[in-house]
Amino acid sequence: MLDILDKYDVLGAFWMTIKLTVFSAIGALVIGTILAVMRVAPVAILRRLGAFYVNTVRNTPLTLILVFCSLGLLYILQINLTDPNSSTSIVDNNIRWAIVGLAAYHAAFVCEALRSGVNTVPLGQAEAARSIGLTFSQSLREVILPQAFRGSIAPLGSVLIALTKNTTVASIIGVAEASGLMKEIIENETASFGVFFIFALGFVILTLPVGILFTSLSRRLAVKR
């Protein structure tokens, strides 16, 4: 089992998993926040657009989204996210498209987590904010969203853990992350519990602290009512 760690760059593969997770999480948080704002906005068309995005993306398999990003957008429509003539264009394009796909997919879940957070803020607060003369965006920024974020930390943690594990799907468009290396090792060394165990352990090491951190954060930061 240990010779596998010597022969293959397991840590490098997990480093790629971490990079995918971090960048996609940032992207998903930004897009998800915008979506959540759209879904609680007073403008009907924005609400419908937000709901349409969430319902479409959330109900599409991630595999499909990533294959669409790579095969559909990169190879058939030829939308490059890097210089197509560079000597690492395939690798760079795939990583970037994987991040775009993962961020777009998880944004739908971030949006719903945030919206549940918005629902923890009593309606009276929004009414009070508007009645002292704050505009919609001011009341959102100063009153509602800060409390919504604090109220939705636990579900956001779940989304982050799911995102970490979902990065494994990126191997199907050729990103050299952990599960891709696992396939390679199984091809060369044949499948064994040792290989399975190493990678399962790797993911537990990545996700368990995140879960503990977010649980304690949600306990400490939740708005006591």
């Binding site: 095969l71 190879y75 891709g180 091809e187 044949t190």
Partner: protein, 278 residues
């Protein structure tokens, strides 16, 4: 509080293990366990030319070889239960007895010999390149520098390209089928894997005339029949069947029927001499 958390983690892990166990066993057993001359044979279901499932029909070189061997072992075609054997599951299927043999583009390697035994080889394939029919810039492995290749994630072919041709960029997908649109639009310049598989794709009606196989194999893959480790008696019977198939002309006929339409000619080393069983 803490112990409850640990309990939950343990329960989750146990559940994951059970699910993993289910995943590998669910493919077989539609006809129940076979007694007497019944045979369960693992083949690929998705490789045109080698092992392909279309409706309830199975076609391909591997299928014909398996049928011939089954006949020599005393089983008729109706006694065969076909089981899907994806690359990563082949050893497990044999070790757990879910199949009696695997005939699924199964290259004989030393690492695999530690888990299963092989009879054969019954065929020698080589890694080759599939390119667009109008592409004249690629004539073989030496003209690949700076080109973009496509293969399947984790496959032996993909690793070989990475190791041997560092100037090549490699796109890896989950299946070979996904490489074809990328090849058609010019996103990648070639698809690389065993020539038998490439010939199968080039011969598919929807791609006819669009792609061609270069025909300069740069590796040797010995396809063998995988059986339970140490089963020398079975191995000897299968080896005899393969020898007979080659000598009575059925072997050549199987190649002509399955790979001939793609203009495929078996490369060096064919027909092979099956190795002695040990």
């Amino acid at each position: 509080m803490k112990s409850r958390g640990l309990g939950a983690v343990a329960a989750a892990a146990a559940l994951a293990l059970t699910l993993a166990a289910c995943g590998s066993s669910s493919s077989g057993d539609s006809a129940g366990s076979g007694g007497g001359t019944k045979l369960k044979i693992g083949i690929k279901f998705d490789q045109p030319g080698m092992g392909l499932k279309k409706g309830s029909e199975y076609t391909g070189m591997d299928v014909d070889v398996a049928k011939y061997i089954a006949k020599q072992l005393g089983a008729s075609e109706g006694d065969i239960t076909w089981v899907q054997a994806p690359s990563a599951q082949r050893e497990t299927l044999i070790q757990t007895g879910q199949v009696d043999m695997v005939v699924a583009t199964y290259s004989i390697t030393d690492a695999r010999k530690e888990k299963v035994s092989f009879a054969g080889p019954y065929f020698v394939a080589g890694q080759d390149l599939l390119i667009r029919a109008d592409d004249t810039s690629i004539t073989g492995p030496d003209s690949l520098d700076g080109k973009k290749l496509c293969s399947v994630k984790g496959s032996t072919s993909a690793q070989k390209v990475k190791d041997k041709y560092p100037g090549v960029q490699l796109q890896e997908f989950g299946t070979y089928s996904e490489c074809l649109p990328a090849l058609a639009t010019g996103g990648v310049d070639a698809l690389t894997t065993d020539d038998t598989i490439l010939a199968g794709y080039a011969a598919q009606p929807e791609f006819k005339g669009k792609f061609k196989v270069v025909g300069q194999p740069f590796s040797q893959e010995n396809y063998g029949v995988g059986i339970k480790k140490g089963d020398t008696a079975q191995c000897t019977k299968i080896t005899d069947a393969i020898k007979k198939m080659i000598s009575d002309g059925s072997w050549q006929k199987a190649i002509d029927n399955n790979l001939g339409p793609a203009g495929y000619k078996p490369g060096q080393g064919n027909p092979p001499t099956p190795a002695a069983c040990s």
